[in-house]
Amino acid sequence: MRGILSAAGYVPYRRLDRADINRFFGTGGGKGTRAVASHDEDTSTLGVEAARLALRARPGLALGAVWFATSTPAYLDKTNATVLHAALRLPSSVPAFDFGGALRSGTGALQTALTNSGSVLVVSADTRDGLATSADESIGGDAAAAIVIGDDGQAGDVIAEWLGSGSATDEFVDRWRIPGEQRSKLWEERFGETRYLALGREAWERALKEVGLAGDEIDQVVVTGMHTRAGKALVRHLGLRDGALHDDLSGTVGQSGTAHPGLVLAAVLEDEAARFAQLGAGRVIALVHLADGADVFVFRTTDALGSFDPARAISDQVRDGAPVTYGKYLSWRNMVEVEPPRRPEPQRVSSSAAWRSEAWKFGFVGSRDRTSGAVHLPPARVSMKGGATDDMEPLPMSDAEGTVVTFTVDRMVFSPSPPVVFAVVDFDGGGRFPVELTDVDDGELAIGDRVEMTFRRLFTADGIHDYFWKAKPVRKERKGEDAQ
C-alpha cells in the first residue's frame, strides 16, 4: 500500500493582523491574520523546519529522496534542496532535487512522489509577497509543509493510503511574475474564476471516477489556491456533505502558495489523528489545488494514523503565534528600507570554509570527547578537558533543548532586524553554546528560560546566504497548560 508515511507543517511565529494594513493606509487589509516569516527565514529554512517536524513524528524513516518545491527560491541555478539535505543530515546517496518556480510545483512533486517508488520527502514552502494594500499582501501567508510518501513497512505503515488522483491542465494567464520580481500581477478576477471553476470540476470528476466514490462519500475536503474566489465557488459544485469542508487556514495563516496544499493536508491528518478514537480509520480525504489547472488527490486514513503523534501540530503553531507590527513586516519584506545600525555589514561566507564545516553549520553537529565526555560546539580535535586529541565522536545537537544561563541585548551590532538578543545556552545532556535568539521580543527573555534550536538565514552577502542555527524559546509547554 502506498501513501503518506508522515506529514507536518511549519507556520512561522509572527502574525500580521490584516486590519493593521487598513489602519496604516486607510485601504487594503481584511479580517484575520497572515503568517509572516521572520527576517531570518526564507523558503529553504521554512522547509527545513517542516521537514524536521515530519521526520521527528516518524523516527527511523529511511528516505530515498528529498524534493523541494517553491515559487520563491532562495537560490536559482544552485539547488535549494541540498540545504535541506544538509540540515537534515541525510546521507549523500539520497538525492535532493528542486521543483521550481510555479505555484503548481508543490502538487506536481506530490503527484510524482505518489506514482514513484521508495520513500520520498516532499517539502514545499513559500513566502508570499504583494505590494502594500494589495489583495496578495493580505491573503498571502508564509509556511512550509513536509509530506513523506512511501509504502507500508517503512518504519511502520502509511497513515493515509493514496486512492487516486485527477488532474486538469490548461494554459492561460491569470497570475504571473517575471523572474526577479517580488510582486505578482493578476488578470481580471472573473476570467480566472471562470477557468478555475471549470478546471476544478473537471479534475474533481476525474478523481472521483478514478477512486469510484461520489462527492458525498468524501469525509474531509480542502480546496487551496491563490485564486480564493474561484476556490470558494468550486466548493459549491463538489456535491459535499455538510461539515466535509475543512478549514483552509486562510483566516490565520493565509494562502501559502506552493506550500498550502501540503500544509492543509497535514492539518487534516493531524486533526484526524487527534480525533482518531472517535472517528476511526477509513476516512476519505480529498485535496484540491487550483493552479494553472486543478489537481485532486484522494486518500483514505489507516489504522496506523491512530499512533501518529505530530511533533508540533499545525493548530498549536497557529495558536502560539505572536504579532508583528506592519512596519516591521514591511521592512522584513524589503518593501520599506529602514536605517541599519552604523556598523559594517558582514562579509560573504567562504564557500570552501562552509563546505568543510557542513555538519556543524547545516546540521548543528558538535563533538563529544570519548574520554572526558566534554561537549564541543563547534566540534574540535583537541579536547578542552583532559587534552585528548582526535578522540571525539560526532554529536548532533539540533534537536537538543537547553536553558538560558545568561543573555544580553546588543543594540549596536549589525542585524537585518535590530536589536540582537543573544544568550548563553546550556543544553540538556551537556554542552554550552553562546547563540543568537530569534522569534523573541525584547524584554521577553529571562534567565532559566527553555530554548530549542531552529535553522535560519543569518544574512546574505554577495548573494550568498549564510545559513546557521539560532535558538528560540520553547513554546510547546503551553499545550500542557491547556490540558490542565
Binding site: Q347, S357, T406, F422, I447
Partner: protein
Amino acid sequence: MSSHGIRDRVAIVGMGCTTFGEQWDKGLDDLIVDAAQETFESAGLTKDKVDAYWFGTAQSGMSGITLARPLQLENKPVTRVENYCATGAEALRAAAYAVASGAYDVAMALGAEKVKDGGYQGLNSNNPPNDGTGRTLTAAAMFSMVAPAYAAKYGIDEEQMTDVLATISSKNHYNGARNRRAQFRKEVSKETICASPRVAGGLGVFDCAGVADGAAAAIVVRAEDAHHYTDTPLYIKGLSFVAGTGSGLIDPDYDYTHFPECEAAALDAYRQAGVTDPRRQLALAEVHDCFTPTELVLMEDLGFAARGNAWKEVLAGTFALDGDLPVNPDGGLKSFGHPVGASGLRMFFECWLQLRQEAPPERQIDTDRTLALTHNLGGYPGEMVSFVSVVGTELG
C-alpha cells in the same frame, strides 16, 4: 606557569604618548612620528641608536614597514606584533626580552592605532574568510553579560550594581579630567552616567571605553645601562602573558564573574616580581577598563579585593585617586581613550609619570610605594588574552 621572568634586568629609560582622541587631522604616520619623537627626546637619543623596534598595531597596518617608513629606519629589524587589545603591551614585552637576551642593547616598542578613519563607531574587526557561524556580537554585548552574573552571584540588587558601575565610570572621568592627553576631559556625574542610553544589555554609553586615535612608545635598555640615559629609570619586575583557550565560551562551568586568563597572568607576574600583597605593595594600577564591569571584576582577578568584595571596595573609594590603591589615575580606557595598539604602552606611560613624580600635581599620587601594575586584556569573557606587568623604581 613556569616563566623565569627578567626581574630587574631591563629598564624603561624613555617614554612618549600622544594625545588620544578623534584626531581627524592626524594620520597613522603623524601619530607614529609624534610618539617616537617624544620618546627619543625623553631617552636623550636618536633613532639610529635604537638597535631594534617592535611595532604594535591591531588593524592600522601590516609588517614592520608600517613603522620603518614614517620614521625612515634604515637597516633596522622592525617587527609588527598584534595580540588583540594587548598589542601595545606585547610590543614592549618583545622589546624587553630582546634586550634581556643580550641580542640588542637598545630597543623601542611603539604602539599606534588609527581607528577613526573607518567611518563607524566602536571597534571593527577584520575577520579572515570563514564559514559564517562565528559570533558577530559587539564587545559591549559580550562584556554586558558580566554585570548581571556578578550581581546574581553575590546578591547585589540592580540599583546597587548600577551605582557600583557608575562609580567606576565617574572615577575614571574624574581622573581623565586631570589629564591633558585624555580623550574625554570632563567629570561626569553618576546621575548622567545612569541616564545614558543603553548600547548592550545594561551597559550605557558611559560604561564603555572611548575609541580613539593615538600612539605611545617606550625605549628599553639593560638595567645596568639605564643610568646612562636617566636618573630615574623604571625597572621591569615582571611581564606575563596568557592567551586563553576560548573554552570558557563553551564550558558550562564558566560563570562570567571572573576572567581566568587575567588571574593566571597576574599570579605569574607577581611571582616574577616578588609581589606578595599587591593591594599594599602597588602605588597604582593601570587596568583594562574596556567596560565598567570589566574593571570591577579585574579588582578581584588581580588580587586587589577578595572575591565578592570588589563592589564594596569600589563604593568605599579604595580605587579612587586618593584611595588606598588608585586604579587608572590617568582616566583609563574609559576617559583616556582606547587606540588598541597604543593602550598597553599608554598604561606604562602613566606608571612612568606617577612613579617618577612627574604626573601633573592635580593627579600625582602621594605615596611611598615604588611599584606599579599594568594590565591589558583582549577578546571576550571566556575567550581572551591577558597581559600583566609590574614595574618599579628600585632595584631588588
